[in-house]
Amino acid sequence: MEELDLLKKAWQKDTHSFEQVSEMEIYKMLHKKSSSIVKWILIISVLEVLLWTAISVLFNTDDYLKKFHSEDLIVYFRVLNYFNYAVIVGFIYLFYKNYVKISTTDSTKNLMKDILRTRKTVQYYVWYNLGMITVSMLFGFAMAFFYNPDMSVLKDRIAHESGHKTLFITCGVLLLTTVVFVGLFWLFYKLLYGILLRKLNNNYKELKKIDL
């Protein structure tokens, strides 16, 4: 292609059309803050981990259990809590491992893969927490249903009804609440990372297409 080779010649000769940056300016640049997406992912990830860890620690079920005089269950929750801490530590290790792997001297494809993997780790952590909260919520409702005296009206109705209308409505409301709750988070993350990583995702797809 003639025109491209013409451009190639001009391109290679082109060494003096740029305003040269002085050593002083380069020194100044070295001490400026980076605004790369890797940095944003790190900041957002640390905030997310702090937030979700705080939520899972503050989400203390002991008082709730005591209220319904089911202290025997507390020991199970203790175990669950330790399990939770182990997951947090494991997750932080994984995140750190993925994060330090990100290198701008790697090939473009590997760099993109590493960034996306780091981000995915955080996403899995968030899903894990959401899952735990959903399970706790459902469990909490079941506990309330069986132990909370306020629920006896509902229990009576379900027991004495010939059809299972009340039971279905109760389950339906529970299910709907869960779906809406999880759905809202899904939307939030879709938007947050969608905006942040739109360019990267597009370029990654484009790059993968070449090797198809």
Binding site: E3, D14, S17, E23, K32, K199, N203, D211
Partner: protein
């Protein structure tokens, strides 16, 4: 100790800055975005510099980091074409000793290249820099055969842009 590393880096970067300017001009519109990307590339290069062993030339090492920064790390969108950028492109073309027709062809070609997507631009950049297919493939992380095929396709695409 770190001072002298900084000095070496600054000196090397100053001497090799044109290749980074070329990438910045390819991926941004206008002077501000150009400077912004140049700064981000400088920061990324400095971060990676302690691991630079001098096995390859500084310029080879630097353009890889610069391309990765432009394609992957840099956040600002580079899609819209502004009038400011048009002026700077004119400047790029008119300083050489080409006849009017050739000058016009070069200008149109560069404008066509600007319309390509980020990955295609990277391929064209390395083609214009006369990099071999092994290096092109390695830089992007694709196979050599596919790099060759893709560059031929891009040539076709550019032809279409120029002669719709």
């Amino acid at each position: 100790m770190s001072d002298s590393l900084e000095q070496i880096f600054v000196k090397q970067l100053k001497e090799n800055q044109n290749i980074i300017h070329k990438i910045c001009r390819l991926y941004t519109n206008g002077e501000d975005a150009h400077k912004d990307l140049f700064q981000e590339v400088t920061i990324q290069l400095w971060k990676a510099f302690p691991k630079f062993r001098g096995e390859s030339k500084f310029s080879t090492w630097a353009y890889r980091v610069a391309l990765n920064t432009a394609i992957t790390l840099y956040r600002k969108s580079t899609r819209s074409i502004s009038t400011v950028e048009f002026e700077s492109r004119k400047h790029f073309i008119s300083q050489e000793d080409y006849n009017h027709e050739e000058e016009e062809q070069i200008k149109l070609m560069y404008e066509a290249v600007q319309q390509l997507n980020d990955i295609e631009k990277a391929l064209v950049f390395m083609y214009l820099e006369d990099k071999d297919y092994t290096e092109i493939a390695e830089t992007l992380g694709i196979t050599e055969v596919n790099a060759r095929v893709k560059i031929n396709r891009i040539k076709g695409k550019l032809k279409k842009i120029l002669n719709p």
